[in-house]
C-alpha cells in the first residue's frame, strides 16, 4: 500500500533543477520584442514539468508557485499577454524562489514563505487575472503548504444565504495589514455588507468581521487566504457563529499570535532543543510553564506526529526560521498567564479535528526533506562513463592476453605470478561488471513511480483505475531511463485523464467500472518498445479533426487514423473540454514527441473507439544490453537476439526438403520452414555446407518463422549493443555490433531482415 517515495525524490530534485536551469537559460536568451514561440513553449514546458512532478511528489509549495507561473506563461505563449521586461524579471525571480524551495526540500536551506508569497503576488499581478482574488498586499502563502490541510478548520459550513462570521489573523506588520484590510474591505464590499465585530488590538491578534451577503464560505475563505494566515481563517455561517465563537476565540487566546497548527509551533519551540526528539525533553520543555498540567495532553499528542518523527535537524531549522518574528509571539503566548485558562477548554476541539490529516502525515514521513547523504549520487557526464566502459573493456582484453601468455609459463616455478594473474582476472571481471552496471538499469526504476501517479490522479479525477506492469526487468541505458520518465508520465496522465472514463460512464457502456492502464516494456527487432495502453474511450477522430481545423492545421477527411491520431502531438493541441490540473492545456503530448524523437525513437498511437488506446514508444537500442545467443559460422561469430529464437535443432537428412532441386525447406514437426543459410547470405568462407552437419535455429520475427542455418551454437551472452553506423554504414542483415569477452567484434544479426530474406529471393545460391 505505502510506497516509499523518498527513493524518487533524488530524481525529482535533479530533474527539477535541470528544468529550472533550462528555464533560466531560455529566459535569458529570449528576445522580448519578438519572442520565439518555440522558446516560449520550451519555458512553459519546463514550468509545466516542474508543476507536474512537484504535484506528484507532494511538494505543494513548488507546485503552487509554478502553477501561477505557468498560467502567466500560458498567456504569453498564446499571445494573450505581451511579453514585457518586468515579466522576465519576475520569471527569473520566481525561478530563484523555486530553487530556494528545492534547496530547502533537499535540506540545504530554508524556505522563505514571504518571498514565495511575494513572487506569487507579483506573478498574479502580471497575469492581471481577474479570477485571482484582489488582495495584492500581504504575504499569504503559508511557509510549507503541506501543513495547510492540517490547519483546515472544522467549521467550513455550507453556503449560508444570510452571511458569515469571519475570523482570521493578519500576517505581517502594521503597514501591510492596513493595506491588506483595505483591499479586503473593498473586495468584500463588492459582494455584500461587512462590519467589524472585533478588530485586532495589535498585529497578530485575530480579527472578527461579520459579512452579510450570498457569497459562500469557500469564496470568502479564498479571499481571506490572500490577506490572512491560511491556518487562522475561520468562516462560520452567521447562525452558527455563537457556537464557534468561543472556541476559536479561546483558541486564539491560547495559541497566541500565530495560531498556526500545532505542528508548526512544535518546530518553533522544539527547535532550541537537541534534535533527538526524546519525549522527556519535550515535556521538559513544557515544564517551566506556570501550569504544565493544564497544557492539554491531546495537543501534545497530536503535535507529536510532527516532532517525534526522527526529523533531520535541518527541517526544524528550516521550518522555524522563516517564522522568526512569529516565534516571538509563540513564546510570548506561553508566558501570558491569562491565556492559559483557555487552554484546557479551547484546545481540544481543533486537535480532534486535525487528527485525520495528522495521521496522514505519519504515513508519509517527512516528504519535504530528504536526508542529505543517504541517497547521495553524483551526476557524471555520459561520455565519461562511456570512456570508463571502453577502458575497462581494454583492460579485460589485456588481462586475457596476459592469461594467454601465462599458460606457457611453468606454473610450479612461477606460482606467485599465476596466483596474481588469477586475482587479476577476478578483479577485472568484477570491475567490468560494476562499470557496466553504471549505465544499465531495469525500466522498473521508471515504472515504479507510476502506481503512485495513477493512484493520485485517478483519485483526483474520481476514476477507478488499475495499473498493470509487465517487463519491468527490461534493461536499458541509464540515459534513456532518465529521459523516458517524463514522456511516459505524460502518456500515463493522458491516458488517465482522457482515456479512462468515469466509473458511471464505463458501467453505462457495459465495461468494468475499474479501468485498466497497462505499461509494458520489451525488446523487439532491435528496439525497446514501451507500451502505454488503456481500455478507455479511445480517441475521437472527429473531435481531433475538428480541433485541428479550429487551430488552422492542414487536415482533410481522408487522412488515415494514424495521421489523425498523430495530430495530438501538435504543440498546444488538446481536445479536453476543460483545463484540469492533470491535463488539457495541450502541453505534454508535444513534449512527449519531442523528447522521444530526441532519443531517436518514435511514438505510435493505436486506438479503437470504445475499446481503448495504445501508445507505443519505440526507442533504439543504443547501448542497451541484449540477451544474445552466439553462433559460429566459419571463423566468424554472430549474435542472435535471444528474443527471436524459438528453438534450435540438428537437422536430419529426412527433414530437409528440396523444391525445384534446391534444398530450401525444413520440416519441423508439422510445419515447413524456409532455411536461411547464414554462410551463403554473408558469404562466409569455410563454413559447414551440409545442412545435416550444422545447427538449425528456428527464429520468428514479425510473425514469420524461418530456420537459420549455422555451424554451431557457442553460448549465450548479455552483450552491449554498439552502433556500426557511427563509423561505418548500415549493413543489411546486421543490426549492430558488440564486443566479445576476448575483445573481438561480433556482429548482431537483424533477424527481421534475415527472415525476410527467406521469403524473398535468396542471393542466387552463390
Amino acid at each position: 500500500m505505502s510506497i516509499d517515495m523518498s527513493q524518487f525524490y533524488q530524481v525529482f530534485f535533479e530533474e527539477t533543477a535541470e528544468h529550472l536551469a533550462t528555464m533560466e537559460n531560455l529566459l535569458l536568451t529570449l528576445d522580448i520584442a519578438a519572442p520565439d514561440a518555440e522558446q516560449l513553449n520550451a519555458i512553459f514546458r519546463a514550468a509545466h514539468s516542474i508543476k507536474g512532478s512537484a504535484g506528484t511528489f507532494g511538494f505543494t509549495d513548488l507546485a503552487e508557485v509554478t502553477h501561477i507561473l505557468e498560467n502567466l506563461l500560458d498567456g504569453v505563449r498564446k499571445g494573450e499577454l505581451a511579453l514585457r521586461e518586468d515579466m522576465i524579471d519576475a520569471f527569473l525571480d520566481a525561478g530563484d524562489v523555486l530553487k530556494g524551495m528545492l534547496a530547502a526540500h533537499r535540506g540545504e536551506g530554508e524556505t522563505d514563505a514571504a518571498q514565495a508569497a511575494a513572487i506569487c503576488q507579483r506573478l498574479r499581478q502580471l497575469t492581471g487575472d481577474d479570477a485571482a482574488p484582489p488582495a495584492p498586499a500581504a504575504a499569504s502563502v503559508p511557509p510549507v503548504p503541506r501543513r495547510a490541510p492540517a490547519a483546515t478548520p472544522p467549521s467550513v459550513a455550507a453556503p449560508d444565504e444570510s452571511g458569515h462570521d469571519l475570523f482570521f489573523v493578519l500576517d505581517g506588520d502594521a503597514a501591510t495589514t492596513a493595506a491588506a484590510l483595505d483591499n479586503l474591505n473593498a473586495a468584500l464590499a463588492a459582494l455584500g455588507r461587512t462590519s467589524v465585530v472585533a478588530a485586532a488590538a495589535a498585529p497578530g491578534q485575530p480579527w472578527h468581521l461579520r459579512f452579510r451577503g450570498a457569497t459562500d464560505a469557500e469564496t470568502l475563505r479564498g479571499m481571506l487566504e490572500f490577506v490572512a494566515r491560511n491556518d487562522s481563517i475561520r468562516v462560520v455561517p452567521l447562525g452558527q457563529a455563537t457556537a464557534f465563537e468561543d472556541a476559536p476565540d479561546g483558541a486564539y487566546g491560547f495559541f497566541g499570535t500565530p495560531p498556526a497548527p500545532a505542528e508548526e509551533e512544535a518546530y518553533g519551540f522544539f527547535e532550541p532543543l537537541p534534535a533527538s526528539p526524546a519525549e522527556e525533553e519535550a515535556y521538559g520543555f513544557f515544564a517551566p510553564l506556570p501550569d504544565a498540567s493544564a497544557v492539554p495532553a491531546p495537543v501534545v499528542q497530536e503535535e507529536a506526529y510532527g516532532f517525534f518523527e526522527p526529523l533531520p535537524p535541518v527541517e526544524a531549522a528550516a521550518a522555524s526560521a522563516p517564522n522568526a518574528d512569529a516565534q516571538d509571539g509563540a513564546y510570548g503566548f506561553f508566558v501570558e498567564p491569562q491565556s492559559l485558562p483557555a487552554v484546557a477548554s479551547a484546545a481540544p476541539p481543533p486537535p480532534a479535528a486535525e487528527k485525520p490529516p495528522a495521521a496522514k502525515e505519519v504515513m508519509r514521513p517527512v516528504p519535504t526533506v530528504v536526508k542529505p547523504g543517504t541517497d547521495a549520487s553524483i551526476r557524471v557526464g555520459v561520455d565519461k562513463v562511456d570512456q570508463l566502459i571502453n577502458l575497462v573493456g581494454e583492460l579485460v582484453i589485456t588481462q586475457a592476453m596476459l592469461a594467454q601468455s601465462a599458460t606457457q609459463i611453468d606454473p610450479v616455478e612461477f606460482e606467485r605470478l599465476h596466483n596474481g594473474l588469477i586475482q587479476l582476472e577476478r578483479n577485472t571481471r568484477d570491475l567490468q561488471e560494476a562499470v557496466m552496471s553504471i549505465r544499465m538499469m531495469p525500466i522498473s526504476v521508471v515504472f515504479s513511480r507510476f502506481p503512485r501517479v495513477v493512484r493520485d490522479i485517478s483519485q483526483k479525477l474520481g476514476k477507478q483505475v488499475e495499473l498493470q506492469l509487465s517487463g519491468e526487468n527490461t534493461e536499458l541505458d541509464k540515459g534513456l531511463i532518465e529521459r523516458i520518465a517524463d514522456p511516459l508520465t505524460h502518456l500515463v496522465r493522458n491516458s488517465l485523464d482522457h482515456g479512462i472514463e468515469a466509473p458511471e460512464e464505463r458501467a453505462a457502456k457495459g465495461k468494468q467500472p475499474v479501468g485498466t492502464i497497462t505499461l509494458k516494456a520489451y525488446h523487439q527487432s532491435g528496439n525497446i518498445v514501451i507500451e502505454v495502453g488503456d481500455d478507455g474511450a479511445g480517441l475521437n477522430r472527429q473531435k481531433i479533426l475538428a480541433k485541428a481545423r479550429e487551430r488552422g492545421l492542414n487536415v482533410y477527411d481522408q487522412m488515415t487514423d494514424q495521421e489523425v491520431f498523430a495530430l495530438i502531438f501538435e504543440a498546444g493541441f488538446s481536445t479536453a473540454d476543460q483545463i484540469t490540473e492533470v491535463s488539457g492545456r495541450g502541453v505534454g503530448m508535444d513534449v512527449v514527441k519531442k523528447n522521444i524523437a530526441a532519443m531517436g525513437g518514435r511514438v505510435e498511437i493505436d486506438s479503437m473507439p470504445g475499446i481503448g488506446t495504445r501508445m507505443t514508444v519505440r526507442l533504439p537500442l543504443t547501448l542497451a544490453i541484449l540477451d544474445g545467443m552466439s553462433v559460429a559460422v566459419g571463423a566468424e561469430t554472430y549474435i542472435i537476439p535471444l528474443g527471436y529464437v524459438i528453438e534450435s535443432l540438428q537437422a536430419e537428412r529426412g527433414m530437409i526438403k528440396s523444391v525445384s532441386g534446391v534444398e530450401r525447406l525444413i520440416q519441423v514437426r508439422d510445419e515447413y520452414l524456409p532455411v536461411v543459410p547464414l554462410h551463403e547470405i554473408f558469404r562466409v568462407p569455410g563454413a559447414v555446407a551440409s545442412f545435416a552437419d550444422g545447427i538449425m535455429i528456428i527464429l520468428e520475427a514479425d510473425g514469420v518463422k524461418a530456420a537459420l542455418f549455422v555451424d554451431a551454437m557457442v553460448g549465450q551472452h548479455q552483450v552491449v549493443i554498439k552502433s556500426l553506423e557511427s563509423n561505418y554504414r548500415k549493413v543489411s542483415g546486421v543490426s549492430g555490433a558488440t564486443i566479445m569477452g576476448d575483445g573481438r567484434v561480433a556482429l548482431i544479426l537483424d533477424v527481421s531482415t534475415l527472415v525476410g530474406m527467406a521469403r524473398h529471393a535468396l542471393p542466387a545460391a552463390a
Binding site: G393, F682, S726, N727, S732, A737, I739, V745
Partner: protein, 172 residues
C-alpha cells in the same frame, strides 16, 4: 636574442625559407610513398585480424574494436592495387579521425613525419590510376623521393570507399 632564436630552431623548415609548411605522415604502399595530413591521424597500431563484414567490398577488411569503438578497416593496398597483400607483424594500421568518424587504413609501413611547404608540392598530372586523381592533392618532392599527397578525408568519405551511407547510396 634567445626568444628570437627559439621559434626558428623548432621549425627550421618553416623558418629558413619563409614558406608555409605543413606536416605530413608518410607511409608506403609497395614501392610507392604516400603523404597524408598528420592532423587527420589519430594513432598508429599493429594489424589485428578484423571481424569481416558480409558483402562488403574486398578492400574493407572488416571492423575492429578500438577501445570500445567499432572501427572499420580499409586496406589501401587492395584499394590502390599496389603492394603485396600480406599481413605480417610489421603491417601497420593508421587510425584516422576524419569528419567525426574513425577509420583505420592498412599500409605496408609508416616512414616518417615530414614538413612540406606549398611550393614543394607540384600539381599531379592527369593520369589513369586506380585512385582517382581528384583525391590527389599533388606530388611532393623530398630529395629523390616522390610523395603522393592524398586528400585522405575526401577519399575516405567518398562514394568509392563505401564507408559512408549517403555516399554508398549515391554510388548505387
Amino acid at each position: 636574442m634567445a626568444q628570437d632564436f627559439a621559434p626558428q630552431s623548432s621549425r627550421p623548415a618553416a623558418g629558413d625559407e619563409g614558406g608555409h609548411a605543413q606536416e605530413y605522415l608518410t607511409f608506403t604502399l609497395g614501392p610507392e610513398e604516400y603523404a597524408i595530413d598528420i592532423l587527420k591521424v589519430q594513432e598508429i597500431r599493429g594489424y589485428e585480424p578484423p571481424t569481416t563484414i558480409a558483402n562488403a567490398p574486398a578492400f574493407i577488411k572488416g571492423v575492429i574494436n578500438l577501445r570500445g569503438i567499432i572501427v572499420p578497416i580499409v586496406d589501401l593496398r587492395i584499394k590502390f592495387g599496389v603492394g603485396k597483400i600480406e599481413y605480417t607483424p610489421f603491417t601497420v594500421v593508421i587510425i584516422l579521425s576524419i569528419g567525426g568518424r574513425v577509420v583505420g587504413i592498412v599500409v605496408d609501413g609508416v616512414s616518417d613525419v615530414t614538413s612540406l611547404r606549398a611550393e614543394q608540392i607540384r600539381p599531379a598530372p592527369e593520369f589513369a590510376s586506380s585512385v582517382d586523381t581528384r583525391y590527389i592533392n599533388g606530388l611532393g618532392t623530398l630529395g629523390e623521393r616522390m610523395l603522393i599527397v592524398v586528400d585522405i578525408e575526401r577519399l575516405m568519405l567518398s562514394a568509392e570507399m563505401a564507408l559512408v551511407d549517403e555516399a554508398a547510396e549515391a554510388a548505387a
